[in-house]
Symmetry: C2
Subunit: 148 residues, 2 copies
Amino acid sequence: MSKQINQSLREWMDIFMHRSMRGWSQYAKSTGLSMPQFSILMQLHHKGPCGMSQISERFDISNAAASQLAEKLVQSEYIERAEDPNDRRAKVLQLTFKGKDLINAGVEERYRWLDELVKKLSADEKSKVHEGLSILTEVARKMENSNQ
Amino acid sequence: MSKQINQSLREWMDIFMHRSMRGWSQYAKSTGLSMPQFSILMQLHHKGPCGMSQISERFDISNAAASQLAEKLVQSEYIERAEDPNDRRAKVLQLTFKGKDLINAGVEERYRWLDELVKKLSADEKSKVHEGLSILTEVARKMENSNQ
DNA sequence: CTTTTTAGTTAAGCGGGCTTAACTTTATGA
DNA sequence: TCATAAAGTTAAGCCCGCTTAACTAAAAAG
């Protein structure tokens, strides 16, 4: 049994990860942004506003590199860089509307692929998939939160 | 019902994609390879041996760029570049043992995270997850194959 | 059997990401 | 309060990926 579930998780991961990584990098390319720049937008989308140092930690680059990347994103109006009211040394980075639109369009594209999948399922299959995924998602979320 | 399943697919995608993309890019970095180089290894891992032109098509870069990237991977012994016996203009790129090891280690790392997840599930939950994922994987595989 | 097309390589040059080093400004602590 | 640490910025310089252009060699087409 434990063998079986591991097997199905692995197959699923191989297919889905490859597919979606390809999708994201193609989308990033189509926007004209480099992967590092695009990844910062994704990070802000996923985790919300943060400071410059969180970016450099998250991507394991120097503060200088983070600052330069952020500068470009500010120039192209995908993010906003404001002074942190609690610490005037620090900055708060967050997506502008333009930035949010860009990411959301990418997310939608990915969703569309999922929708195609769902269309091919019977009602019974849908409910089984739903059940399985809900379980997985919930436990994954718990793990993410407890790990930090 | 269709609403529900879409919802669960989306939540799941948001969490898992973010997590695994972060994992892969950190792993790529830890190997000392650039993302473009690493992606070529992933592609060969996923789809098997192929020619230079398939690489340039897949990543939407020029033949020249593909050739240069491949050259570096050959130099560092992650791939092998041989003449195609059926067409002496063409080359066949494939992973060496060293290249396979590198990718497999990354895959294993990702699997380990999944295993952590599975540990937190009850027997009943495991079987439900297994059932749902098997359905999804199968339909996804069919779609991949029919799309090309 | 020539002509054209296809697969790949090589070199020059551009632009981007990253690092280190030097600097400014603000917060913290002895 | 004065020294030190922390958050960001800026500039110089390196490496890398990518493109275009010029090329070789082999296959396909006429």
